[in-house]
Symmetry: C3
Amino acid sequence: MQTVFHLIADEPEQQQTALTIAENLTKDDSVEIDDIAIVAQADGIEPLTAGGDGSDTVESLLETGISVKACGNTLDLKDLAESDLVEGVETVPSGGGELTRLQSEGYAYIRP
Amino acid sequence: MQTVFHLIADEPEQQQTALTIAENLTKDDSVEIDDIAIVAQADGIEPLTAGGDGSDTVESLLETGISVKACGNTLDLKDLAESDLVEGVETVPSGGGELTRLQSEGYAYIRP
Amino acid sequence: MQTVFHLIADEPEQQQTALTIAENLTKDDSVEIDDIAIVAQADGIEPLTAGGDGSDTVESLLETGISVKACGNTLDLKDLAESDLVEGVETVPSGGGELTRLQSEGYAYIRP
């Protein structure tokens, strides 16, 4: 099974909850998880920025093999470059496009 | 691919973000999108009301071919008639029912 | 068709809206619903606790045959025992795991 988490809220606490739920999923032996992705856009991009609030959690999620993707439209809007992001974060053309593509491939969607 | 956006939050800024993400999806050439729908319910109904906050964005989304659907239960609860809605908005019996039906047809679900 | 509702927000009003949408889905004759589940985690657990805000609605949803599931990680984090929950509520290892499993079985996902 595969799961994509949608990170979009602007509250640090809510973002942390989202990242914790992703982390907990990797530890749940009752489901066989083949892949976990996080797609972040709008104000949910904060933890993906280097030194941003919650970026340490993003770093440890990347280390567990979770892929983390930043919405390109959001980067443009917030005048952020890829070099402003945590190392290992990928950029996708649009968050909505990536969420659609992953779900069409069978990923479950979770919006914390 | 097909995508349905769920509009339910009561914050104008969050509603605007949702509508922008829908708009951006129409411009993402990396995914082949066949249809986009928006299902609004509870306080998310505001941008669908004629003259409501964000209704100009709903009007332009309708012009791009996105279908916009209002939850009938919400209309009842808020004492709104179909004539109170932006022209072109459809009414569905329940938001939950429509979201279920569309996903069962293969639509990806995005809740901004 | 089958639907799972994700209860995670910490605002009583938003939780009530979520429960109302689940209830309305049972009354929508335009879609054939075979099963409805609610998965609650993080602060969304409140209505599932005995005597908690919204617990009377959870009780009546259980009576209509909707299954209500509490995230085990959340119970641990909040130091709650199964005996603290409304009678009839099930416990699952993780909310994320259960949401993934249900969607992989074809459940539509709604996050009010």
